[in-house]
């Protein structure tokens, strides 16, 4: 249960960490989110903040949603998402939360939608081994057997070819290397799921 903010993946680069090592890093653009609703355990059964992110023409929203934003007194936002927090009382409706909530050196978890790979075989999808390319082999990338001899069915959950990627993936414990409040940029060590410009959620890691 920790504060989560929405952002975009900008791309990857190289970064010198505090000890002078060059590490692989991902740059994230965290445009400020605005608190639309505060959920309290007494009223809603759990503590959370509902946040709005991005811009949208009001006309594209349904009337009930427009009313929801009007009640909070904030501009309509493209995305609404919720972050479970243990201290909902320290937030108030209309407050904007930007990249400043993160600090250098802390750990964050980043959730995104991984790049879609389409229909793939078992080697790419499940990491099966190749068969030898020579010595009389023909079926180099085939999945092998679907199960033991004598078993008159295929086990449920058998790893087969199919659609891979485009799943929700969370990468945990990424170190924050740099917070640029002016541009709203966050540099984290390591890679992050999804394509560039892809939407990601950045969660402060549980202590």
């Amino acid at each position: 249960m920790a504060l989560t903010l929405m952002g975009r993946k900008v791309g990857m680069t190289q970064w010198f960490d505090g000890e002078g090592r060059a590490v692989a890093a991902t740059v994230l653009l965290v445009e400020p989110s605005v608190v639309v609703q505060v959920k309290r355990p007494e009223r809603d059964g759990y503590g959370a903040v509902q946040l709005g992110w991005g811009t949208i023409r009001p006309k594209l929203l349904s009337k009930p949603l427009r009313g929801h934003f009007a009640r909070a007194g904030v501009e309509p936002r493209r995305r609404l998402y919720e972050a479970r927090v243990s201290d909902p009382d320290s937030y108030e409706v209309g407050q904007t939360l930007g990249v400043e909530v993160f600090s250098e050196g802390e750990l964050v978890d980043v959730t995104g939608t991984s790049k879609g790979k389409g229909f793939t075989g078992t080697i790419k999808r499940w990491g099966f081994s190749y068969r030898p390319k020579s010595h009389g082999h023909k079926l180099i990338r085939r999945p092998g057997t679907a199960g033991p001899m004598g078993l008159r069915k295929v086990m449920k959950g058998k790893k087969m070819p199919g659609h891979a990627g485009a799943q929700t993936v969370t990468v945990r414990n990424l170190k924050v290397l740099k917070v640029d409040g002016e541009r709203g940029l966050l540099v984290v060590q390591g890679s992050v799921p999804g394509p560039r410009k892809g939407i990601v959620k950045i969660r402060k890691h549980d202590a």
């Binding site: 975009r8 791309g11 680069t13 190289q14 002078g20 653009l29």
Partner: protein, 112 residues
């Protein structure tokens, strides 16, 4: 959204170090901070610049010197925070961007 690469470039700009200008063929001395346990000292490395590769914060410099009769080449990230100082010892006018022929020269300081 456009210009996302510009965001990265602007961010990288802050990590760039300012060094005196030098070119392949020049002889330079690089002072690197080396930590030995708790103690930190400066370790110089002097030699002829063989190549500059990469751009932005990823730029690397390859320096060659003859140490104890053996040719030694080091490739160092030019914008590493571990570098303390770069001195240009001698400038040479060299036509190539990558003067690999210098590897055949043993008395590097004597080249024209």
């Amino acid at each position: 959204m456009t210009g996302m690469d510009d965001l990265i470039r602007a961010l990288e700009e802050e990590q760039l170090r300012q060094w005196p200008e030098f070119k392949p063929g020049d002889i330079i001395r690089i002072y690197e901070r080396v930590s030995e346990g708790a103690r930190e000292r400066l370790q110089p490395f002097e030699g002829v610049v063989l190549k500059l590769s990469g751009s932005g914060t990823r730029q690397m410099v390859t320096i060659r010197r003859i140490a104890a009769g053996v040719g030694v080449e080091r490739t160092i990230p030019l914008h590493s925070p571990k570098l303390e100082k770069i001195e240009v010892i001698k400038r040479h006018r060299i036509r190539q961007a990558r003067p690999y022929w210098l590897r055949r020269i043993t008395r590097l300081h004597k080249i024209q």
